[in-house]
C-alpha cells in the first residue's frame, strides 16, 4: 500500500561484537524483518531482551545504536527510503516526521533545562511553528496527557516532577512536532504498576486524539494488548507471528506466542498457617540524617518453609525492610526475632550462625556477583566460610548445587559475564542455598528478567522450597508473581503494612483502597481491560 506511513521490507541489521579474548565478529541482530504501518494505527513489537524489537524501532528512525548497521532491505518512511539515506535527509525526518520516546525519561531529559524548552525544541528547530504556537500546543498536550497544572507544568525542571509525569512529558515532546510516526520504546517498563496504568491511558488517549501512527515496543504482552491494533512477536531477531491484537492473545498459532500468553500460570496452593520462624516486631527505621521514618511500626511474620510476599511500589520501604532484617540498617525501635531468639540489631554483632541462616538474593544478578570470580568461587566461598569445606569435597558440593539449579556440568569455571541473565540469577540462588539457610530474602529477584526466564526462576524457587524446606521473604512489586508463589502476603505503602494475611484473604475482597488500586492496576491479558479500569475509576471518583 502506497499510503503506509512506515514500510520495512526484508530489513537485516548487523553489528560487530568484541567477545573478550576472541576476534571481533559480525552478528545478525535482525533477520528479514517486514512490517507495514498505516496512518493512525498502532503496532506492538513484542519479545524478550535480545529479540531485536528496539533495534527495529530505531531502524524506523534510520538509526542504529553504537556500531549497529542496517545492512539490507528497505525502510520506507512516508515514501522516503531511509535505510541508506544521508545524514541531511535523516536530520530533516527525525523530530519532524518520526519521533522517539525512550524507556528512561529520567536519562533522556537534560536536567539543566526546563521541560518546556525541551518539549518544543524539535518543533522550533525544524521551523514548524513559532514559539508561542509551539508552547500553546505543548500546553494542550500536557492537558490531554493528564499532567497537573498544564499551563505552568513546562516551567519545571525534570527533577521536579515524578517518573510517570516525566514519561508523559516525553510523550508530549514526541507528539509536539505533529509527527506521522512515534516510536515508543518500553515507555512504562520502568514505572510502578499504579503509575503505569495512568501513563498507558494517557499515551493511548494522546495517540487517538492526534491520529499519529505508533510503534509500541514492550516485553509485556498484557501492556501491548491495551494499546496496539496489531502485534508483531519477535524472537532472536526473527519474526515469530504477526496479526491483530485480539487474535494474537486469544488464538496464537506459534508455540512461543502461546508460552508468552500463558506466562505466570504457576499454581501454588497456599500452605496452612504455622508457627513463624522469622518475625519482625513493630520495627521502625530511618536512614541516618533523614527526617522521616522509612518504616513505621512494621510487623510481619514468616513461617518455616513458606513464602511471605512483601508487595508495594518503589519507595514503600520493602527493600528497607530487607536491610533491617539482615542487620545492614539497625532499626530505631522494634526487634527481629528468628527461631525463638532475638537477633542483634547490627550486622557486626551477629554471629556467623545468625548470618548463615538468613541469606539474600538480589534483583540485579549482574552486580550481585564479583565479575572477577568464577562460579566455583562464588558458590564455593560460603561452603568454605561456613562449613570449612575444601578441595574435592567443596567442588563436589558446588557441582551438586549447580545440578540443583539445573545448570549441570561445565559452568563451574565460567565467569559471570559468560552467563545469561537467568543463569546468573540461578547462580545467585545456588550461592544462597550453599549456606543451608532457613530463610532466604529475595529482593525483586525476577523483575530484571524476561517473563519466560522469570517463570523458570520462580518454578525453581518453589521446587527448591519443597525440597530444602527454606522459607522465602519475597519482595516484589509484581502482583502476578505474588499470586504465583506466596503463602502469605504483606502489602506495604509508605513504610507501613496496610494489609496482611494469608494469600487467599489478602487477594479476596473487601479490599482497602490501596490494595484495590494495586490489584486493579495489574494489566490483564485481554483487550479492553484498560478502558474498563479507567471507566470504573472515573465512576468511582464521580460517586465520591
Amino acid at each position: 500500500m502506497a499510503e503506509d506511513i512506515l514500510r520495512i521490507e526484508g530489513l537485516k541489521v548487523e553489528a560487530t561484537i568484541h567477545p573478550p579474548g576472541e576476534r571481533p565478529r559480525d552478528v545478525v541482530l535482525v533477520h528479514e524483518a517486514t512490517l507495514a504501518l498505516a496512518p493512525g494505527r498502532v503496532l506492538g513489537l513484542i519479545g524478550e531482551s535480545g529479540a531485536g524489537k528496539s533495534t527495529i524501532g530505531l531502524a524506523a528512525l534510520g538509526y542504529g545504536r553504537g556500531g549497529v548497521r542496517l545492512t539490507a532491505g528497505r525502510v520506507v518512511l512516508g515514501g522516503t527510503e531511509i535505510r541508506a539515506a544521508d545524514a541531511g535527509v535523516l536530520r530533516d525526518l527525525r523530530g519532524r516526521r518520526v519521533t522517539y520516546v525512550a524507556q528512561s525519561a529520567a536519562a533522556a531529559f537534560n536536567p539543566a533545562k526546563r521541560l518546556m524548552e525541551q518539549v518544543i525544541e524539535a518543533t522550533l528547530r525544524h521551523g514548524l511553528s513559532t514559539r508561542p504556537e509551539a508552547e500553546a500546543r505543548a500546553v494542550g498536550l500536557f492537558r490531554s496527557l493528564g499532567l497537573p497544572d498544564p499551563e505552568h507544568f513546562g516551567r519545571r525542571f525534570p527533577h521536579q516532577v515524578s517518573g510517570g509525569q516525566l514519561q508523559r512529558a516525553m510523550t508530549a515532546m514526541a507528539l509536539c512536532p505533529r509527527p506521522d510516526l512515534v516510536v515508543f520504546d518500553e515507555p512504562t517498563t520502568a514505572l510502578d504498576v499504579t503509575t503505569q496504568i495512568d501513563v498507558l491511558a494517557a499515551i493511548k488517549r494522546a495517540i487517538r486524539e492526534t491520529g499519529v501512527a505508533a510503534l509500541y515496543i514492550t516485553h509485556d504482552l498484557a501492556v501491548v494488548a491495551q494499546v496496539a491494533d496489531d502485534i508483531l512477536v519477535l524472537r532472536h531477531g526473527r519474526m515469530v507471528e504477526t496479526g491483530p491484537t485480539g487474535t494474537i492473545i486469544t488464538a496464537p498459532t506459534e508455540d512461543y506466542t502461546r508460552a508468552l500468553v500463558s506466562v505466570r500460570a504457576i499454581a501454588h496452593p497456599e500452605a496452612p498457617p504455622a508457627e513463624p520462624i522469622l518475625t519482625v516486631e513493630g520495627v521502625s527505621a530511618r536512614y541516618p540524617g533523614a527526617a522521616a521514618d522509612v518504616l513505621s511500626d512494621v510487623t510481619v511474620a514468616l513461617a518455616p518453609g513458606q513464602t511471605l510476599a512483601v508487595v508495594g511500589e518503589s519507595g514503600s520501604g520493602k527493600s528497607t525492610l530487607a536491610r533491617v532484617i539482615t542487620g545492614l540498617l539497625p532499626p530505631a525501635s522494634g526487634a527481629i526475632r528468628f527461631a525463638g531468639r532475638t537477633l542483634p540489631a547490627r550486622l557486626a554483632e551477629r554471629t556467623r550462625e545468625d548470618l548463615r541462616e538468613i541469606q539474600m538474593i538480589y534483583q540485579m544478578a549482574d552486580v550481585a556477583m564479583n565479575p572477577r570470580q568464577t562460579v566455583r568461587t562464588i558458590i564455593g566461598r560460603p561452603l568454605e566460610f561456613y562449613f570449612g569445606m575444601k578441595g574435592a569435597a567443596r567442588d563436589a558440593r558446588v557441582q551438586e548445587l549447580l545440578d540443583a539449579i539445573e545448570l549441570g556440568q561445565g559452568y563451574a569455571d565460567r565467569y559471570p559475564a559468560e552467563l545469561s541473565g537467568g543463569q546468573k540469577q540461578r547462580v545467585s540462588i545456588a550461592r544462597a542455598l550453599a549456606a543451608r539457610p532457613k530463610v532466604i530474602i529475595c529482593d525483586e529477584v525476577t523483575s530484571a528478567l524476561d517473563p519466560l526466564v522469570a517463570d523458570g526462576i520462580l518454578k525453581l524457587l518453589l521446587d527448591l522450597q519443597a525440597r530444602e524446606g527454606v522459607g522465602y521473604l519475597f519482595i516484589t512489586h509484581d502482583i502476578a508473581t505474588v499470586r504465583a508463589i506466596a503463602d502469605a502476603i504483606a502489602v506495604m505503602h509508605r513504610g507501613r503494612v496496610v494489609r496482611q494475611g494469608r494469600k487467599g484473604q489478602v487477594l479476596a475482597p473487601p479490599f482497602d483502597d490501596y490494595t484495590d488500586l494495586l490489584l486493579s492496576s495489574v494489566p490483564e491479558m485481554r483487550t479492553g481491560w484498560l478502558e474498563e479500569v479507567i471507566a470504573h475509576r472515573r465512576m468511582e471518583s464521580a460517586g465520591h
Binding site: L347, R352, Y362, V367, N370, R381, Y415, A417
Partner: protein, 271 residues
Amino acid sequence: MRMPLSAAIGLFLTALYFLAAIFADLIAPYGMAEVVGDVWEPISAEHWLGTDSIGRDLLTRMIYGGQTTILIATVATLLSFTTGSILGFTAAVAGGWVDQALSRFVDLMMSIPSLIFALVVLSVMPVSLPVIILVMGLLDATRVFRLSRAVALDITVMDYVEAARLRGEGRGWIIFREILPNALSPLVAEMGLRFIFMVLFISTLSFLGLGVQPPMADWGGIVKENKDGIVWGVPAALVPAVAIATLAISVNLVADWILNRTASLKGGRGG
C-alpha cells in the same frame, strides 16, 4: 590478540632501559666514576655519547644513572602503591571516623606542595637512598590514596560487596578478594603514570642537589653536571633529558595497553 604497534614500541624501549639498568655492570664500557678523557669530548668510537663535564664516559654515566633512577622510581612507586592503596581501600571499606582521619590527614599532606615538602625534609635528614625513597614514596602515596579510595567507594556499593558483608566476611577478604581484583585496571594504569612522576621527581631532586649525591650517577644529576655545556654548544645535558622523556612515553604506552587488555578481560568492563 595482537599487540598494537605503540605498545610494542613502548615495551621495547621500556625493556631496553630496564635491562640496561639491571645489567649495568656487564654492559657499561668504563667504570662509573672513571675519568677517561677530556672534558666534553664529542661523540667518537671510544665514547659513543662523548664525555661529560669532568671527562667521564657519558654512556657509562647514563647506564649507571639509569640504574639509580629506575631503582629509586620503582621502589618508591611500589611503596607508594602498597601504602596508598591499602590505606585507601581501608578508608573506603571502614568508612566513618577511620575514613575521616585518613582522608583529612592526606588532605593536609597534599596541601603542601610535594617538591617543597621533600626539599625541606631532605635538607634536615641525611640524604641517602632509603631516605629519598621513603620520602618520595610516602608523599606520592597520598595521590594513590585518593584514587584507590575513590575507586573502592564505587565498588563497595556493589551488591557483591554487600553480599560478602552479609556472609560475615572480614575486612581482609573484602579488600583483597572483592575490591582489589576489580580496582586493579585503573590502578595499573595509574601506576605507569606515577612511576614516571617518580622518575621526574627524583630527577628534579638530583638536579637541585638534594637527590642522589655525586659521584653516584642519576639522570637528573647528569643534566645538572652538564647543564653549563649547553652554553658552549655541548649537547651532553640533552642526552639524559631525552632518556627521561622516552622512558616516560614508553612506560605510558605500555600502561595504556595493559589497561585496555585488563578492561576487556573476562568479567571486565567490556572491551
